[in-house]
C-alpha cells in the first residue's frame, strides 16, 4: 500500500481511453490537491465522464499511470473504490427503493459500522426525516441530487467525483448544493466536479478545460484566462445582430458572441483584431476593451479545438 507521499489526491498522467478506435480521452494528466474543489469543464462528449470513470475503476484505461488517494490508479481500483464517492451524471440510485433503503443499501455495501445510526444521521442531515419512506423515484430533481450526494458521503470518502451534479436542478437548489460542497471542502474533502455552468466554474479553486479528449487549459480561473492570451472587446449599440454577422468573417476576429445586451468580440492577435474592428468603432457603437471572462476563453478554446481536431 502506498503512502500519500506526494500529497496529491489525484496525480495521474497520460490517461487514455479508446472506444472503437477513437480516442475519447487522449493523454490527459491531472493533479488535484487535498481539500481542493477542482472543476472539470468541456463540451458534451469531450471525455469528462470517461476520465472520471477511469479514475474510480469503472473503465479500464488503455494507457496512463499515476495515483489516486495514493493508490495505483490502474491496479488498485478496488481500494480506490472504498475511499471515493462517485455521483453519476444520471441519477443512479434505485428508484423503487425508499430514501432510507437506498442509504441502508449503500451503508451495507461499504460495511459501515453502526449502520442504522449512520443512515439515520444522514437522513437527518438531508432534512428528510419525515420522508425517509418515500420512494427515490418520486423525488424531484433537486431532492434526488441531495439524496445522491448523501449516499455518496455515507462511507466517509476522501475524494468525491461529481459528474454534472447540478444538471437540471433549480438555481436555489444549485446554490444550496454549492454551499454544502464548500463546507465539505473546508472539512478536508477533495472534489472533482464536472459542470457546464460558468458561475460554478468560477466557484472552483482550480479548473481544467478539455475538448475532444485533450486537456486544453488548466489552473486557477485567472490562470486559465491569462493563458488564453485573448483580447476581448465589449460593444454596446443598436442592431448588434447585424454587426455580429459582419464581424465574424473579419481577420483576427475569432468569435463574436452576444452576452445579454452586449456583444463580445474576441481574438488571439490584439493588433489584427483592432485593425478589423476599426471601421466600426464609431457612433452608434460604444466599444470597451475588457478582461475576457471564462466563457469567452472557453468559446475561444472550443473554436480552436474544433479547428485542430474536427475532421
Amino acid at each position: 500500500m502506498n503512502a500519500m507521499n506526494n500529497h496529491l489526491v489525484i496525480d495521474v498522467k497520460d490517461m487514455t481511453k479508446q472506444f472503437g478506435g477513437r480516442r475519447v480521452v487522449d493523454h490527459i494528466g491531472l493533479q488535484v490537491r487535498p481539500g481542493e474543489i477542482y472543476g472539470f469543464l468541456g463540451p458534451n462528449g469531450s471525455g469528462k465522464t470517461t476520465f472520471i470513470r477511469m479514475l474510480c475503476g469503472l473503465l479500464k484505461a488503455d494507457e496512463g499511470s499515476g495515483t489516486c488517494l495514493g493508490y495505483d490508479v490502474i491496479r488498485d481500483s478496488e481500494e480506490i473504490k472504498l475511499q471515493v464517492g462517485y455521483m453519476t451524471q444520471r441519477f443512479s440510485f434505485w428508484e423503487d427503493l425508499s430514501i432510507a433503503e437506498n442509504l441502508d443499501f449503500v451503508a451495507r455495501m461499504y460495511g459501515i459500522k453502526k449502520r442504522r445510526e449512520v443512515v439515520s444521521q444522514s437522513i437527518e442531515r438531508l432534512g428528510l426525516t419525515g420522508r425517509q419512506r418515500q420512494l427515490a423515484g418520486q423525488l424531484s430533481g433537486g431532492w434526488k441530487q441531495r439524496l445522491a450526494l448523501a449516499a455518496c458521503l455515507i462511507h466517509n470518502p476522501k475524494l468525491l467525483l461529481l459528474d454534472e451534479p447540478t444538471a437540471g436542478v433549480d438555481p436555489k437548489a444549485r446554490r444550496d448544493f454549492w454551499e454544502q460542497i464548500h463546507q465539505l471542502a473546508a472539512e478536508g474533502l477533495t472534489f472533482l466536479i464536472t459542470t457546464h455552468y460558468m458561475d460554478e466554474a468560477e466557484r472552483c479553486d482550480r479548473l481544467a478545460y478539455i475538448a475532444y479528449g485533450r486537456l486544453l487549459a488548466n489552473g486557477t480561473v485567472a490562470e486559465v484566462i491569462d493563458s488564453a492570451h485573448l483580447t476581448t472587446w465589449s460593444v454596446k449599440g443598436p442592431d448588434l445582430q447585424k454587426l455580429t454577422l459582419e464581424l465574424r468573417h473579419k481577420p483576427g476576429v475569432q468569435h463574436a458572441v452576444a452576452f445579454g445586451s452586449m456583444l463580445h468580440v474576441s481574438g488571439g492577435d490584439a493588433d489584427e483584431l483592432e485593425r478589423s474592428i476599426a471601421p466600426y468603432r464609431k457612433s452608434p457603437y460604444e466599444w470597451t476593451l475588457i478582461r475576457p471572462g471564462l466563457e469567452d476563453v472557453f468559446i475561444h478554446l472550443m473554436g480552436q479545438s474544433q479547428d485542430n481536431f474536427a475532421s
Binding site: 473503465l59 473504490k81 434505485w94 427503493l97
Partner: protein, 381 residues
C-alpha cells in the same frame, strides 16, 4: 484501510435485501409469477399424443424354448420394442423400470415354451412404465396383435390345434405401472412444475442485470466495492423463494384439482426442486450478463425455453424423438427434472433413483454459473 475481501457476507446480504424489497415493489411481475403456473395448469389440462417407437425393453428370460424367442422376435419386428438389456432377477427389472432406463420389462417364466405347446396357457407378463401414457399406450395396444400373428405363423401342422387367437395360447398380462388408469394429468401436472419453473425462473433473472444496466443503476453498483459472485448470488436468492411458491401452487393443484398421487417423499421432491430452480436461475443470470438490454434478455430466455419445452419429454414422449434431439434434450435441466418429479410423485422413487437424474442438473447449474461469473464485468467497458 485493508483491501476489499473477495467475498463479503455483508455485501451479499445487502444485495439480497435490496432484491427482496425491489421484488416486493414490482407487483406486476410478482402477479405474473403466480399467474403463470395457474394459467399453464388450465391450458395444459389436455395431453399431446404421438406414437413413439423403439421403446427400450428389458427381458427377464427364464425359458430357453423356441417359442419365447419367436415372440421376442415378433415384438422386435413390430418396431415398438427394442430389447436393450437382459435382466436376471425381478429386483433388477424393477430397478431398470423405476430409474427409467427401460419402458417395459418382458417376463418369460420358466418352461414358457413347454407350457405353451402343452396348451397350458403360460403367463407372459409385460410390465410398462406408464407414467407417460402417451408413450406406452400404442405399444401396449399392439401387443395382442403381434403375439397372435407370431403364434399363427409358428403353430402350424401338428400344433395347429392350439388356439392362437387373442387370449388363446398365451395368457398375456400387461401391468401398466405407476399410472395404471393412463390418466394424462398424472403425467402432465408434475411435468408442468418443471415447465413453469423453467419459463419464469430463467426470464426473471435474465432481466436482473440488464435492468440495472438499463436504469443506469449498474454504474452506481459497480462504483461500489462489490464482487461478481456477491451480486449474482444475491440476485438469485429471492427468486428461489418465488420458485417454491410456484411449486406449492402446482402441488396443491395436483392434489386437489387433478388428484395426482404423491407416492414418494415430499422432502426429497423439494430438494430436487431446489437444485432445479438453482440451475434455471443460474441460466437466467448468465443470460443477463450476455444480453445488452432487457429485450435481448427475454429473447434469450425464449431461446432456452422452447427447446426445453419441446425436447425434454414434456411435450412429446422423449423416446419418440430422434437420437440427436434426445442428445440435446439430455443437456437440458428440464429433461432430468421431469424424470425426478415424475419418479418421485408417481413411482415413489427414493434418493437413490433420484440422484441419477439430479446430478446432471447440478452440473448444468455449476457450469452455467461459472460462465456467468466469468462474463460479469466489473467495469463498464
Amino acid at each position: 484501510m485493508s483491501s476489499p475481501s473477495p467475498f463479503s457476507v455483508q455485501r451479499f446480504i445487502a444485495i439480497v435485501v435490496k432484491e427482496f424489497i425491489q421484488m416486493g415493489r414490482d407487483r406486476v411481475t410478482f402477479g405474473m409469477m403466480v399467474g403463470i403456473p395457474l394459467i399453464q395448469l388450465v391450458l395444459f389440462g389436455f395431453a399431446i399424443n404421438t406414437d413413439p417407437k423403439h421403446l427400450p425393453v428389458a427381458v427377464l428370460m427364464a425359458d430357453q424354448g423356441a417359442q419365447s424367442r419367436t415372440l421376442l422376435e415378433a415384438m422386435k419386428n413390430s418396431r415398438y420394442f427394442e430389447f436393450v438389456r437382459e435382466v436376471h432377477s425381478e429386483a433388477e427389472a424393477q430397478e431398470a423400470l423405476s430409474q427409467g432406463a427401460v419402458q417395459f420389462v418382458v417376463n418369460f417364466p420358466v418352461n414358457f415354451s413347454r407350457d405353451l405347446l402343452r396348451g397350458d396357457r403360460p403367463v407372459l407378463l409385460v410390465e410398462a412404465d406408464a407414467t407417460d401414457p402417451a408413450s406406452t399406450s400404442n405399444a401396449m395396444g399392439s401387443l395382442n396383435k403381434v403375439l397372435e400373428q407370431a403364434l399363427k405363423h409358428d403353430l402350424k401342422g401338428p400344433l395347429a390345434f392350439l388356439d392362437t387367437s387373442a387370449g388363446g395360447a398365451v395368457d398375456l398380462r400387461i401391468h401398466a405401472r405407476y399410472n395404471p388408469e393412463a390418466i394424462t394429468q398424472y403425467n402432465i401436472v408434475p411435468g408442468l412444475m418443471g415447465v413453469v419453473l423453467t419459463m419464469t425462473m430463467v426470464m426473471i433473472t435474465a432481466l436482473a442485470i440488464t435492468r440495472e444496466r438499463e436504469r443506469g443503476t449498474m454504474e452506481n453498483l459497480l462504483s461500489m466495492p462489490t464482487r461478481p459472485f456477491e451480486v449474482l448470488l444475491g440476485k438469485i436468492i429471492p427468486y428461489i423463494l418465488i420458485g417454491y411458491i410456484q411449486v406449492a401452487l402446482i402441488l396443491l393443484a395436483a392434489h386437489f384439482l387433478f388428484q395426482v398421487p404423491m407416492m414418494g417423499d415430499l422432502g426429497l421432491l423439494l430438494l430436487g426442486v431446489f437444485v432445479f430452480i438453482t440451475a434455471n436461475l443460474a441460466m437466467g443470470i448468465t443470460f443477463s450478463t450476455l444480453a445488452k438490454n432487457q429485450l435481448q434478455a427475454v429473447q434469450l430466455s425464449f431461446f432456452f425455453f422452447l427447446p426445453s419445452l419441446l425436447l425434454s419429454g414434456f411435450m412429446f414422449p422423449f423416446r419418440g424423438m430422434p437420437v440427436w434431439a434426445q442428445t440435446l434434450g439430455e443437456v437440458l435441466p428440464l429433461t432430468h427434472f421431469l424424470r425426478v418429479v415424475r419418479g418421485i410423485m408417481l413411482k415413489g422413487n427414493g434418493l437413490h433413483e433420484t440422484m441419477g437424474h439430479l446430478w446432471p442438473v447440478a452440473l448444468f447449474a455449476a457450469v452455467v454459473l461459472t460462465i456467468g461469473v466469468k462474463r460479469y464485468r466489473q467495469t463498464l467497458d
